[in-house]
Assembly symmetry: D2
Homo-oligomer: 304 residues x 4
């Protein structure tokens, strides 16, 4: 699935040849358009199109609130206000379309975000390329012992070598057999829609993914989070950088209120109030379970 | 709710001053951008922004089907194929944002289309203008006698005059009282969120409405249909003209397969086959109910 | 729109006559089924059907996490964990269907929650009843002076009397004219779909509304909030009581983490840490705007 | 992923022990509850819960259309009317929850239906079982020569044997290595979220899937279609049988209007009219492309 010469030519033309438009343009994202950002070993994120900018968020909010928004002095302040109060609809007025190439096991997590538009490469229809994700040695992590869905230390030495060789060999053999089953050389050739079932989940697929900014922020909040799996987080990080250039005010508000902020429960909030009043709190006096208390302490702990 | 001088200035600037962009542009819709299309007596549709064009549909389909799409010779043919086979996701890759001013009773039908983004003018927050839809005399229709949700002949003479005067007087009085309740002149003034309840459903509201092309086609299929209420149909018709200029191939396919086509049931299809084989069919021999048979005959009847 | 005798009979039958089922049943909500809970002056909420209970949430989570969930000792703890970490899909496994009668201006706010199923009474098709919401005197609030979309003190004396009489008279006159326009007595009679435009936004409509528990919680978080308009908040409160009986563990987690909790921004969290370390903070040293600081102080202030 | 003894005990209890409920019950589906319907070699469909029945559709429609629906004499007729006129919201008032076990490549097609609720077994969190879909010999089809995404004749002899042995061996080896990488016996053990990438797309996963009847019909229209891939069609067929027992009137209308019916384009409809008027039509005179004409003839051709 590298770009066909036809696709490459089309992209080249789009990049070379700016067109005049009466639409709102966002200079910060224009530079990203049609440029592949490499992710993982064979993956990419490429901005195909976008609609709107920070002003489009403000413009939509002002339609809703009319003259009432005048007392907020500037766009950045209004955008912060909207983010703080979960007024999500103005953010839905911006839209982005991305071309993403990604391993199937990442695609399976990604697609759970339902409010988006997707056109994926069809392995029923066409033949997949011999491209598989093989983790870099520093990402070859052991199972976490405290978190069922987390990672622990990096594998080392022989164990790491063994894992990498299994992943490589199995991918290669699976692809050899995929080709052998498809081949019409001296035989009928298995249907593509069947042959694909032999390919492992680290094979690369690609899609066009189109989403509004509110739902993209929701995606980023979950997938750029330290608890997200590394292999999807690197995509979220790459997209985050694009968004920061596209809608800088919205991005700043998102970082402050969503990525860097914290949600306190009623119990946690009560606990903070008592601590501020000078009381010494413990898990026992907090009313929280051990797990909650551990997470609560994590939130309030000073960064090193 | 006429445009504020600020809004007008912003629009003027956008219209005057084309910006270069590396995005796909659709020349046919550029001319519509920011230009208010009048609808009903005080309503409007204005294109605020768009993403994609006919090529974007084709491009997305080719991502899905890969090399397999090559045998379809041209874009128009591929778009027809996609429409015919209900491959809806490539059409979702185009998006449009409209500013619409419309009576509340129309807005209430419109909002039932859930897959869209909306920012509506808030009468909780701001004060509505004295603008009401009063039907033109030729649209003042009697209740249909055959269809509970349809219209019959146009009202005439004294009855028409009486209806118009009731609508006008009640709207005026409701608005006078709205203002009187809101007034802080010598009194506290009722909350806006309460005072608005006195306004009738023909008062105008406005919103930004953003939707992908697939869902817009679904909207147009239902709302540009002859059975749709006239007051929403005129909006659908105005939008349809914009879409025809924006994505001419997709529009042509939509007209052929959705607007002008027909859905036959298994029973209806069987009936057509027997008619083509020379059999004389009646409601009784068709296996259809009277209502179905009447609709079936309507579909096959020659246009006058 | 009171219940027809047919509807009443149907409901009576359903209430009288329990049926055996192999589905999960939730005893706490069975008692609510088919019983109208009065809201406002003519409104109601009635539970028509439900699917699932607290165990259904746990069951779905255990499908996802498999044996990994065993270390959470009990259902309540697992449900708290899911709520705390925004694992929303298990809550989507419960569903509720409500019959709601409500003023049109409330319905217009309500319908903005898009992820739900709705069948509304059609005033295109049928004739609305003479039922209008007229606020009780204690809910007749003045416009807030600090919040554009809020309420201030209760109106008093002559002003209150004047508002009530305007609302009553205008509603009555609008309905008289609605009937006069529809009448086929000696005239053709205006189409229903047109005549309805004369009715003010406090006229009652009704619908069936079906929603999953995750989206219902989202609705309740926004609409049971003290900043929500009173007239929708009373519906949210009535529904909240039903939910508390239906899924008591999920409700308790929702109250702790959503309704009673607080969202801190990165800036706010940093500020709390410095306060806990003994620093005296002010708006100026906090890095927050005046509005944010006011809200931040509100969150940390002791309840009276 | 066979049922745990705990799950099996829970199901046993639910089946043994009917509970009284005041909800609407649908006797035809009660018998299916909690009973696994086998699909493919290791897959299953199991009805976990449902809401509503044919009467619930009628009830919702009558809320919308009020007294206006009285002229339709019976429930079956009203349901047919709703289906014929694409009045989809009453069908959304029924809901079903299924437990499905299915190969990953089928799950990837299935999940493209976005309007549904899903909880899938997490291979990040838990370990997948050694269960792979291996096609029965009669389903081992060659690539179609006319349709890029279709199947041709069944593979025979040596070629079939070779394919089956590749699929079996690769699955086995992939699973052996999956276990070897996970093993903590004398080594750290690779994280589950990484090890899963070695498993091919015919490995089985499972999920709870909850959907309303309208969206389920949309799923069935596409997936029970003869052009759908066999491996998803067998799931659609199994679900279709359950739906036929659950809501027999809605199912009959769906079969007549959706599954057995046909969509004619404006061009196709014009062509039918001319044929009925006695004209001999050909592809050239029809105005259709070759592909369209072939499909058009297919629709009108007598069944053998």
């Amino acid at each position: 699935m590298p770009l066909t010469s036809e696709q490459a030519a089309e992209i080249e033309k789009l990049r070379a040849d700016p067109q005049p438009t009466h639409r709102a343009t966002a200079p910060g994202i224009e530079a990203h358009l049609h440029t592949a950002i490499p992710v993982l070993d064979h993956g990419l994120v490429r901005v195909v199109d976008y609609m709107g900018d920070d002003s489009a968020i403000v413009q939509a909010a002002r339609v809703s609130y009319g003259a009432g928004t005048k007392h907020v002095q500037n766009d950045a302040g209004l955008i912060r206000y909207l983010m703080r109060h979960w007024h999500s609809t103005p953010f839905e007025m911006c839209e982005i379309k991305l071309h993403v190439k990604l391993p199937v096991f990442v695609a399976r997590q990604w697609i759970r975000h339902r409010t988006a538009n997707v056109n994926e490469y069809s392995a029923r229809y066409s033949i997949l390329d011999r491209e598989f994700y093989i983790p870099a040695p520093e990402n070859l992590a052991a199972q976490s012992e405290v978190n069922n869905q987390g990672r622990g230390a990096v594998l080392e030495g022989e164990e790491a070598a063994r894992v990498l060789s299994m992943l490589r060999d199995d991918a290669d053999r699976a692809y050899d057999h995929y080709e052998a089953m498809l081949s019409q050389d001296g035989q009928q050739g298995l249907a593509r829609e069947l042959a694909r079932m032999n390919l492992p989940a680290n094979v690369y697929t690609q899609w066009y993914w189109k989403v509004d900014l509110h739902n993209l922020f929701h995606f980023l909040r979950l997938r750029a989070d330290p608890h997200a799996q590394y292999e999807i987080r690197v995509y979220a990080d790459a997209i985050g950088k694009v968004v920061a250039d596209w809608v800088p005010h919205a991005w700043a508000a998102f970082e402050d209120y969503r990525m860097g902020g914290a949600q306190l429960s009623a119990t946690g909030l009560e606990c903070v109030k008592r601590m501020l009043a000078g009381e010494e709190m413990t898990q026992e006096t907090s009313g929280m379970s051990k797990g909650e208390w551990r997470e609560f302490e994590g939130v309030l702990r000073d960064p090193a």
